[in-house]
């Protein structure tokens, strides 16, 4: 996974709430068997509208998506995160995220930051008035900065460390392989097994 410490870029103000993962990437784009190449599916239906935010030249190079609450609810598709990353986004700021989406994002080096509605509103206004305004998302200091404004955010200490180090969960877990084996040796014998197939 890519390490994430701090990122400075411009912001795209997506004034919508309840953006579910079906909106982020519709199901017809989920058929690839690779982990890359999902950028064409990002907000695919909305992008057909020439007035849609990401079709405006001033937001084409934005790397920080600022959006309304309940972003990434619904389907567990990690493709939603891959699509945002492949398109060029490094961070998403919203008041609240769907749990599975948030977990997925942090496993792929896409930083998702929760800021209160009022801060999101300020960032929306800033990006609307000055699309070229720089916004910094700083995971080291747990701060979002824009102009003379600074907002702190909370972030789980373990997840922060993992993200800053770019660590792979599987490798971390396998350090405790002995504990997994010990747990397995104590499991009840009647617990179901898929093999051999009993049908």
């Amino acid at each position: 996974m890519d390490k994430f410490t701090t990122h400075t870029g411009t912001a795209a103000p997506l004034r919508r709430s309840n953006v579910d993962t079906d909106q982020i990437i519709p199901a017809v784009y989920l058929k690839r068997v690779t982990k890359t190449g999902f950028e064409d599916g990002l907000f695919a239906e909305w992008r057909e509208d020439e007035k849609f935010l990401l079709n405006q030249p001033e937001y084409r190079d934005a790397t920080i998506l600022v959006t309304g609450t309940e972003f990434g609810t619904g389907s567990s598709r990690e493709h939603a995160v891959w699509a945002l990353k492949d398109y060029g986004f490094k961070a998403v700021i919203a008041p609240r995220f769907g749990d599975i989406f948030r977990g997925n994002s942090l496993k792929n080096g896409l930083l998702t930051v929760e800021l209160p509605e009022a801060a999101v509103e300020e960032l929306w206004l800033l990006a609307e008035v000055r699309p070229d305004a720089e916004v910094t998302v700083d995971l080291v200091a747990c701060e979002v900065r824009a102009g003379d404004r600074t907002w702190g955010f909370e972030f789980d200490e373990f997840l922060r460390w993992r993200m800053m180090e770019g660590l792979d969960d599987v490798a971390l877990t396998l350090r405790d392989e002995d504990k997994i084996a010990a747990f397995e040796s104590n499991r009840d014998a009647w617990r179901p097994r898929t093999l051999p197939a009993a049908v």
Binding site: A27, S76, D99, V170
Partner: protein, 475 residues
């Protein structure tokens, strides 16, 4: 004698979900989240290819092939069992088959007697049992909570993690109770109940919580009804939803292919009987609902929280105090092509979809068949009936339900996810309106530009007959 804090902790009253959680902790403490052991890992073709790729790249194996099972459902056609016309869909299915072959994972492919929607297949095989941890790269994994298990959807990175380690690191959740007092009135189903709950909480109301559904109305539900309720836990943002196992649960599991037998059965049931929330256990939050006040419930908007009684009318954006909800409602009405104030019963539909992991089980087909028997699907309405699994289809045929649907003019299909998410050719066309027994009315979910009203199987069947949203009482 005074107890140490640790002893006090161990004997403290616990909720059902805490008991299941605690029984699966491989590692706890320190800065890292708890590491949970996973009892059952379900796979399908959409969210697994990149996970298997990850294993290959790292030279890893599937740790417990005997706790892993795959089925093909999202992309499979429902008009035949042999030809997947779309090459990218076919490629995804073929990739799953090749991965299962390479890594030694059991798979039920298109045409197999046990193929079907992954969340219908697990319980049907008796692989879903009380007190387990169940995961799948699909958010509707919460379905399996109906058996008193902690079951939740995961992303592809987590699928890879479970394949490699049979565990998942998980931050401790909060616990919530939804208590439904009294009995559901005649004609009100599990689907109406859960749609009502989501309309109260909104799409984010359950965030971070494992929810226990309890109370008389829940206890009176069949296992199919309990699965419908737990299935839609994710639609209000809950981590998982579960229901304490009881005799109905044991009766459902007993005798199934992978159910414990003989002495094992006795040992299992003894353990399962202890899987309930202790007297005095504390939930972080509780919602109480009076079942007697409920009536058939449907959605009008573009998220599952935007619902209302079938007897109601399309709300106006101004009805919502919260500015975010107001904007969301205005967007939803535009997308849905609806005018505020229109009675829900006057909304005409083009398509009726009966199926999915929410309402594609035998009881759902029976309910709909009972309503539609001897009647006809309205002119201009296409009713599609898609059993949740090949086994459900077989049973429905044995009971003659297929004839009921076919005689009424409905389209009787093979098993799969189908129009619930429109990955296969079963899709709405732009502007088409559907009454659907599935779980999501998101924009474009059932096909680009398609408009979805979520309904129960009984409402779906009645709607097919009248061509407008209706309940059996209207016929």
């Amino acid at each position: 004698m005074s107890r140490t804090p640790q002893e006090a902790e161990e004997t403290r009253p616990r909720t059902l979900a805490e008991k299941v959680w605690d029984a699966h902790v491989v590692r706890t403490g320190g800065q890292q989240p708890d590491l949970l052991y996973i009892d059952l890992h379900l796979l399908h073709e959409v969210t697994s290819p990149q996970a298997f790729d990850g294993l290959r790249q790292a030279g890893r194996k599937v740790r417990r092939t005997d706790l892993t099972i795959a089925t093909e459902d999202h992309n499979t056609p429902t008009d035949n069992l042999f030809t997947i016309a779309d090459p990218t869909s076919r490629k995804q299915i073929e990739t799953l088959r090749a991965n299962c072959e390479e890594f030694g994972v059991r798979i039920h492919s298109l045409g197999d007697a046990e193929q079907g929607v992954v969340h219908v297949v697990g319980p049907q095989l008796g692989l879903t049992q009380p007190g387990m941890t169940v995961v799948c790269g699909d958010s509707h994994t919460s379905t399996h909570g109906a058996f008193g298990s902690i079951a939740f959807g995961i992303g592809t990175s987590e699928v890879e993690h479970v394949l490699a380690t049979q565990t998942l690191p998980q931050a401790k959740p909060k616990y919530m109770a939804v208590t439904v007092n009294g009995s559901l009135p005649e004609g009100v189903s599990a689907k109406d109940l859960i749609l009502k709950i989501i309309s109260i909480t909104g799409t984010g109301g359950g965030k971070g919580h494992i929810v226990e559904y309890r109370g008389q109305a829940i206890e009176e539900l069949s296992m199919e009804g309990r699965m419908t309720v737990c299935n839609m836990s994710i639609e209000w943002g809950a981590k998982a939803g579960l229901i304490a196992p009881d005799q109905a649960t044991f009766d459902y599991v007993q005798g199934r292919a992978h159910a414990p037998q003989g002495e094992d059965w006795d040992a299992a049931v003894e353990y399962w009987r202890g899987l309930k929330t202790d007297e005095g256990a504390v939930f972080d939050k509780e919602i109480v609902i009076d079942a007697a006040s409920l009536s058939p419930f449907v959605t009008w908007g573009t998220n599952p929280g935007q619902g209302i009684e079938l007897s109601g009318a399309v709300p106006a954006p101004e009805d919502f105090e919260d500015p975010v909800e107001r904007t969301t409602a205005a967007n939803a009405l535009t997308y849905m092509g609806l005018e505020a104030g229109t009675p829900m019963r006057q909304i005409g539909v083009d398509v009726v979809f009966l199926g999915s992991c929410t309402n594609g089980r035998i009881e759902d087909l029976r309910t709909a068949a009972e309503v539609i028997k001897g009647r006809k699907v309205a002119d201009g309405v296409n009713m599609m009936v898609v059993p949740g699994s090949a086994k459900v289809r077989e049973q429905a045929i044995a009971e003659g339900l297929d004839r009921v649907f076919i005689d009424a003019g409905a389209d009787w299909r093979f098993a799969g996810c189908s129009m619930c998410l429109g990955m296969n050719p079963d899709q709405l066309t732009p502007g088409q309106r559907a009454a659907s027994t599935s779980n999501r009315n998101f924009e474009g979910r059932q096909g680009k530009g398609g408009r979805t009203h979520l309904v129960s199987p009984a409402v779906a069947a009645a709607t097919a007959v009248t061509g407008r949203l209706a309940s059996p009482a209207d016929l």
